[in-house]
């Protein structure tokens, strides 16, 4: 027999040989019990707050978290006989869906789509990011309030138009030849654009259906939609720069460019860095609605992104494809957030 050292939480009654809880342990036990009791009491006391939280939680559970259970479809065989589209009746498929899109028969569709997603997102970042900053710097230059607010009203406006309207108008303006004439914008490009045959042919048949011009057009429409609105944040940072800083720089003989370089840019740098990190985080979440609306057989080789490809498949490998895309996207977001917390001591979430 060996004796367990248990004086800490047990006391031995020598006479009867029975053990009972030590006084210290009783206190500890009571606090432990009280902990849960206290938590219970707090929740009970604040039941109104939890009731207020309930509708939001339910909405998010039903329509944001429950879809995630459908991700199991990525590991199911959609060709199971008799499954009738019901995921529960399908056989488990292991990683076959993933193998199919990564190295199997659909790899030649998945990888180009993945590449397109990345390229479109990258171009969007490359051209879409500096533009709002430039706009904000220029807004700061306009001292007349009337002119500035008029311009601001106009450049914010496209943000509030629907994707359907934006794509419709873009398609209308860049219409191909109809009744012997080009769409209004196509005309302008035909006159002022480079005079090469490929471009003119594309214009005649509708430039949006031409794979080689798709990305440029997509990025331009994105700029048109978002640049003005995105400039709000930067403009707020620019006007926060104290006028005395400018004066000091001017007295030291700084020209406009030097003022930009040494006064404005350092002041708005933190905003710029945060917005950049945020954009990089959202890199892979290309707006699929817009791509979906602009997709056509002609431009598919440049425009098919993972989301639209998955949508057209509509089965297990589609779920697998989009899940891959979104998981990488999530890693990017979390990574970007961590970097921003470390670098600028600013966390977005």
């Amino acid at each position: 027999m060996f004796k367990i050292k248990c004086d800490d939480f047990l006391t031995c009654d020598e006479a009867t040989g029975t053990y009972s809880m030590s006084a210290e342990q009783q206190v500890r036990d009571q606090t432990e019990k009280n902990r849960w009791k206290n938590i219970g009491l707090t929740i009970l006391k604040d039941w109104r707050l939890y009731l207020m939280l309930l509708p939001m939680v339910l909405v998010y559970v039903f329509w944001r978290y429950m879809p995630m259970t459908q991700l199991l479809g990525a590991f199911k065989d959609y060709n199971t006989p008799g499954a009738n589209g019901n995921t529960e009746n399908m056989k488990w498929f292991g990683l076959n869906n993933f193998m199919n899109i990564f190295v199997g028969s659909n790899a030649n569709l998945f990888w180009p789509a993945f590449r397109n997603t990345f390229i479109i997102a990258f171009y969007n970042l490359l051209f879409g990011f500096p533009m709002p900053i430039i706009l904000a710097l220029f807004f700061n230059e306009v001292k007349s309030n009337v002119v500035r607010s008029t311009v601001q009203v106009l450049v914010y406006l496209p943000k509030f138009l629907s994707t359907v309207i934006v794509t419709s108008i873009a398609l209308i303006l860049l219409n191909g030849k109809s009744g012997g004439e080009l769409g209004a914008l196509s005309k302008i490009i035909a006159v002022f654009g480079p005079n090469n045959e490929a471009l003119q042919n594309a214009l005649n048949s509708g430039i949006f259906f031409e794979a080689r011009y798709f990305r440029s057009l997509y990025v331009i429409t994105e700029l048109w939609e978002h640049a003005g609105y995105d400039s709000i944040v930067f403009f707020a940072a620019v006007i926060a720069v104290s006028p005395t800083s400018y004066e000091a720089a001017q007295i030291d003989g700084a020209g406009k460019i030097q003022q930009m370089r040494y006064v404005v840019l350092p002041s708005i740098l933190s905003t710029v860095v945060i917005m950049l990190i945020m954009k990089i985080g959202g890199l892979l979440s290309v707006g699929y609605e817009k791509v979906y609306l602009l997709l056509s057989t002609g431009n598919m080789s440049a425009s098919q992104i993972v989301a639209t490809l998955a949508n057209s498949w509509g089965d297990g490998k589609g779920i697998a494809a989009e899940m891959t895309n979104n998981l990488i996207g999530m890693i990017l977001v979390i990574g970007a957030n961590t970097v921003s917390r470390k670098a600028a001591n600013v966390s977005l979430y």
Partner: protein, 320 residues
């Protein structure tokens, strides 16, 4: 001290003005073009004769002029009114629904004493990081739509008015809730305490202290919800088409259907003439009028809320 403007400053100023004015005109031009198109004859629209002003007449005799034929057809078309009413319904009820649960949730989340606050925040923010994707979301809409139908005594989601599913299940936005939460956190606690000493309940504190003090943010968030509801296309289209419920189409879906099936603008022209004016060859000009009519409500409210959203965005965007 007044000093002379340096040459570099002058050049910069000129560049700024020119650039901004050109950009503003670029933002305006497409709308002007479409507006001109609605007042033009269908021949002129179809043959790309419009540049800036309305053009009427046909074949060889195009001239500046003005006609309201497109609007006549648009207003005489039942489906237009149905879809427009759907959009108003979804935008109005949907925005109210989103605002109600967002404000209630954001208020609870703004309370430091709420146990599990970090957990609930993560619950919300995680949806911004990871989305299930199109197919799972669709399957889930179908499942919840079927469940809703069972509750009201139907077979599947085709038996219920899917506008209700669109209202309840779509238009969620975690960013908006965080915007509201940040704004509520900025309300001084002294005011709340004063209200509590006067015997205000939780709901009274929210209604009489927090909401009046966060008007700008609430207006901004309401605007964001409203616009996204008004503009929603993809899911409304997917859901109403899967259930064969074209009477639930919002106006955006109608516009797109017109483009795909009655005109050759998207290169997907099917020529199915399912819209009653399409076989008269005027689908394109009627389309323009649909576009204009669907933008008008946004243009009307836009100037009023413009001052709010600039403020709201800057307040809630980044939290240190």
């Amino acid at each position: 001290m007044k000093r002379k403007m340096e040459i570099s400053e002058l050049i910069f100023k000129i560049v700024a003005y020119v650039f901004l004015i050109v950009f503003a005109l670029m933002c305006l031009y497409p709308l002007v073009y479409v507006l001109a198109g609605t007042f033009s004859s269908s021949d002129a629209v179809l043959n790309n004769k419009i540049v800036l002003w309305p053009v009427i007449g046909g074949e060889g005799s195009y001239r500046f002029g003005f006609t309201v034929d497109a609007f006549k057809y648009a207003f005489g078309y039942n489906m237009f009114w149905v879809s427009y009413a759907n959009t108003i319904f979804v935008a109005f009820i949907g925005t109210i629904w989103c605002l109600v649960y967002s404000i209630l949730g954001a208020y609870a989340l703004s309370k430091k004493r709420l146990l599990g606050r970090h957990g609930f925040n993560f619950f919300l923010v995680f949806t911004m990081w990871f989305a299930a994707g199109i197919i799972p979301t669709f399957l889930n809409y179908k499942a919840t739509g079927d469940a809703l139908a069972t509750i009201v005594g139907g077979q599947d989601w085709g038996d219920i008015d899917l506008k209700w599913l669109i209202v309840l299940a779509m238009g969620m936005n975690a960013t908006n809730i965080i915007l509201l939460r940040n704004s509520f956190e900025g309300v001084p606690t002294e005011i709340e305490e004063a209200a509590r000493i006067d015997g205000a309940t939780e709901m009274q504190v929210l209604m009489n202290v927090y909401i009046p003090m966060s008007k700008a943010t609430i207006a901004t968030v309401a605007l964001f919800f409203g616009i996204s509801r008004w503009n929603g296309y993809f899911w409304a289209y997917k859901v109403s088409n899967a259930a064969n419920q074209s009477y639930s189409w919002p106006v955006q879906v109608l516009v797109r259907d017109l483009i795909d099936n009655e005109t050759d603008i998207t290169g997907k022209f099917n020529g199915d003439n399912s819209h009653e004016f399409a076989n008269q060859g005027i689908a394109t000009s009627v389309l323009y009028s649909f576009i204009v009519l669907s933008i008008i409500p946004i243009l009307i409210i836009y100037p009023f809320i413009q001052k709010y959203f600039a403020k709201g965005v800057n307040m809630g965007g980044v939290k240190e």
